[in-house]
C-alpha cells in the first residue's frame, strides 16, 4: 500500500508537483499518465527517496520515506527515466553490484541475478559491457536492477521507452506477471500503454491531479454523449429535410466526404437518446441510402488530450473531475487548526 499525501515540490518559483494525493492498494498496477513535464518523474523521485518533498509525505505500508528511508527503500525497486547504469561494468557485474547495494544476502546474489536476467531477457548479454549495449538492452538491464531483491513495490518510470514493438509486448507481459506479487506504479506519456496494463490510472498535468480511476471508469465518467457520423447518398437539402423530421437530433454539422453524390454530417443527440434506429427508418422512408453510420464515443485518448491541453476552451473537461487545487486551501486550513 502506497500513500501519497498532499505532495508539493517547489523548484524556486516553479511548482513541479502541486498538492498531489493518491493511494495505491497492494497488488495493483497503477498507471501514472501525463504529458512531458507534468511532474511524473519528480513525483516518482520523491516516492523513492531520491528527492525530498517541499511539503507532504509518502508512506509505504505506513512507513514514511523521510523518517525511515532505509526500511522503505528496501521494499521499493526503482527504474528511473534514464536507467542508472555504470558504463564501465558488464551487465552481470552491474547486477551483482546492485544486488549488494540492495542488501541481498551473499549466498542468494548469484541465483537472484540469474533469475532477473532470465526474466528480462538479458541472459545473452551478461558478459558484455553496458557501454556497448543498445538502448533497449540498457532499459532491460535497468529493469532487472529494479527487480533485484524482489521488493514489494516497483516504481517504473517509462519502462518501455526505447524498446521495439516485440520487446514492448514482452515487457508488458512481464509487468503483468509481476503484478501477482508486486505493487507496480508505472508512468508513461503514451496512453495506449497504460491502458493496456494498468488497473488504475492517474492523469496529472502541471503537477496536479486531473483525473483518477480505472480506465473504463474514466472513459464512462468523462465521455460526452456519443456523436454519430452519418454518410448518405443524396443532396444536402434532401438530407437536411429528412433529418429535421427525426426527433432528438440536437445539432448537426456537415463533414467533408470523399464519396460522390453523398453528404456527410456529424449529429449530436439529445441526452440519453439513441437515435440510430430512428435514423434508419427516416432514411428508408425518404429513400436516402445510408452509406455509413458510425457511433463516435470519446476514447481515453481524447479524454487524455483534453484533460492535459492548455487551451482554456477545453478546460470544462477538467472541472468535471475533483478539483485538487480548490481542495488544497481547505486542507491547509484544517492543518492550521
Amino acid at each position: 500500500m502506497i500513500e501519497v499525501r498532499d505532495l508539493v515540490k517547489r523548484y524556486g518559483a516553479h511548482l513541479a508537483v502541486d498538492h498531489l494525493s493518491f493511494s495505491v492498494p497492494d497488488g495493483q498496477i497503477f498507471g501514472f499518465l501525463g504529458p512531458n513535464g507534468a511532474g511524473k518523474s519528480t513525483t516518482m523521485n520523491i516516492m523513492t527517496g531520491y528527492l525530498g518533498a517541499t511539503e507532504g509525505e509518502v508512506l509505504v505500508d505506513g512507513h514514511s520515506i523521510t523518517d525511515e528511508p532505509e526500511l522503505v527503500k528496501r521494499s521499493v525497486g526503482y527504474l528511473p527515466e534514464l536507467p542508472p547504469l555504470y558504463m564501465d561494468m558488464t551487465c552481470e557485474e552491474y547486477l551483482l553490484f546492485a544486488a549488494g547495494l540492495k542488501k541481498v544476502s551473499r549466498k542468494d546474489r548469484n541465483s537472484q541475478v540469474d533469475r532477473v536476467m532470465e526474466m528480462t531477457g538479458t541472459m545473452t548479454v551478461r558478459g558484455r559491457l553496458i557501454r556497448n549495449l543498445s538502448k533497449g538492452y540498457r532499459q532491460r538491464v535497468g529493469l532487472a536492477q529494479a527487480l533485484l531483491g524482489f521488493p514489494k513495490v516497483l516504481i517504473l518510470d517509462e519502462p518501455t521507452v526505447g524498446l521495439d514493438p516485440k520487446q514492448i509486448l514482452e515487457i508488458r507481459t512481464l509487468i503483468r506477471s509481476l503484478s501477482k506479487n508486486h505493487t507496480i506504479l508505472l508512468s508513461s506519456h503514451i496512453l495506449s500503454e497504460v491502458q493496456e496494463v494498468c488497473d488504475h490510472l492517474l492523469i496529472i498535468h502541471h503537477g496536479r491531479k486531473v483525473a483518477c480511476g480505472a480506465p473504463d471508469e474514466l472513459e464512462r465518467e468523462l465521455a460526452d454523449e456519443p456523436t454519430l457520423e452519418l454518410t448518405l447518398r443524396g443532396t444536402d437539402s434532401q438530407a437536411r429535410a429528412m433529418l429535421a423530421g427525426v426527433p432528438s437530433v440536437a445539432a448537426l454539422s456537415p463533414l467533408p466526404t470523399r464519396e460522390e453524390n453523398a453528404v456527410s454530417y456529424r449529429l449530436e443527440q439529445a441526452t440519453g437518446a439513441d437515435i440510430r434506429e430512428d435514423l434508419f427508418h427516416a432514411c428508408a422512408q425518404a429513400g436516402l441510402p445510408i452509406l455509413a453510420l458510425r457511433r463516435d464515443a470519446l476514447t481515453l485518448e481524447d479524454i487524455f488530450l483534453r484533460l492535459t491541453s492548455d487551451d482554456p476552451g477545453q478546460q470544462p473537461g477538467v472541472s468535471r473531475t475533483p478539483d485538487t487545487s480548490a481542495a488544497a486551501p481547505t486542507q491547509e486550513g484544517e492543518q492550521a487548526q
Binding site: 528511508p69 526500511l71 527503500k73 564501465d88 549488494g100 547495494l101 540492495k102 542488501k103 536492477q145
Partner: protein
C-alpha cells in the same frame, strides 16, 4: 557500503585513472629517491617526500574528479540514493576506495627507507612517521577533492577546482603573512604544509598536526554528505 567500496575500487582499475595515478606517484618517488638518496647519498627518505608533495597536489585532483561529479552526470546517483544505503555509507565507501588507491604507491614507497638501511645509516622511525603523515595528508586532499567533485557535474571543473584549493592551502602560510596578526594567528592553524614539514624536515612527531589532518578529512567528508543531502531538498 562494501558494495560501493568494491565497485569504486574496481572502477579505478577498469579505467586508466587508477593505474595512471599509481604510476605517476611511483615514477616520481623513484626519481626523487634516486636523485636525493642514492646519488646525493642523503640518508633521510623524508626529503624525497617533501618534493613528492607537489606531485601529490597534481595527481589527487585526477583521482577525485569523477568520484561524485560522474555519478551525477550519468544519473547513477539515482541508484545509490534510492538503495537502502545511507548517504554517509555512499560517501565513506567512495572515500575509502580512493584512500586504498593512494595506499598502493605509499606502500611501495615504504620500501625506500629499507633500501637506505641496507646500504648504511637510515632513520627509519622518522622516515616512516613522515610517510604516515604524507599518507594522511593525501587523505585530506582526497576528502577536499571529493567535496569539490560533489559540487559540480563536470569532472574538469572538479579537477581544476580541487587543484586551485590545494594550491591555496599549500601557499596558506605565505598568504597569512599579508593578513593582520590577529587574523593570521587564528587562520594559520590550517597550514597543513607546516605539519608535514614538522614530520619530514624536522623529524618532529606532530601529534596536534595529525589531529588537524584527521579533522580536516572528517570535515570535508561531512560537507560532502551535506552537499548531497542539500541537493535532494532543493
Amino acid at each position: 557500503m562494501t558494495a560501493i567500496y568494491k565497485r569504486e575500487l574496481s572502477s579505478y582499475f577498469n579505467s586508466m585513472i587508477g593505474y595512471i595515478f599509481i604510476a605517476a606517484l611511483v615514477f616520481f618517488t623513484g626519481i626523487y629517491f634516486m636523485a636525493y638518496n642514492i646519488f646525493s647519498g642523503y640518508p633521510h627518505f623524508s626529503i624525497s617526500l617533501i618534493s613528492l608533495m607537489n606531485i601529490l597536489m597534481f595527481t589527487i585532483p585526477i583521482l577525485t574528479m569523477k568520484s561524485m561529479a560522474d555519478e551525477r552526470r550519468g544519473k547513477t546517483d539515482q541508484l545509490l540514493l534510492t538503495a537502502p544505503v545511507s548517504l554517509t555509507g555512499v560517501v565513506v565507501g567512495k572515500y575509502l576506495a580512493m584512500v586504498t588507491v593512494l595506499a598502493v604507491p605509499v606502500v611501495l614507497a615504504a620500501f625506500c627507507p629499507l633500501i637506505i638501511a641496507a646500504n648504511g645509516q637510515a632513520y627509519l622511525l622518522s622516515d616512516y612517521a613522515s610517510l604516515f603523515a604524507f599518507f594522511l595528508m593525501g587523505c585530506v586532499f582526497i576528502a577536499i577533492g571529493m567535496f569539490i567533485s560533489s559540487l559540480t557535474e563536470s569532472q574538469i571543473i572538479a579537477a581544476v577546482g580541487t587543484f586551485a584549493v590545494l594550491l591555496i592551502l599549500f601557499l596558506w602560510e605565505d598568504l597569512m603573512s599579508f593578513l593582520p596578526d590577529a587574523l593570521s594567528n587564528v587562520l594559520s592553524v590550517f597550514a597543513f604544509r607546516t605539519v608535514f614539514y614538522n614530520f619530514a624536515d624536522y623529524s618532529v612527531f606532530d601529534l596536534g598536526g595529525l589531529v588537524l589532518y584527521l579533522s580536516m578529512a572528517f570535515l570535508f567528508l561531512f560537507l560532502t554528505v551535506q552537499t548531497l543531502q542539500k541537493r535532494r531538498w532543493n
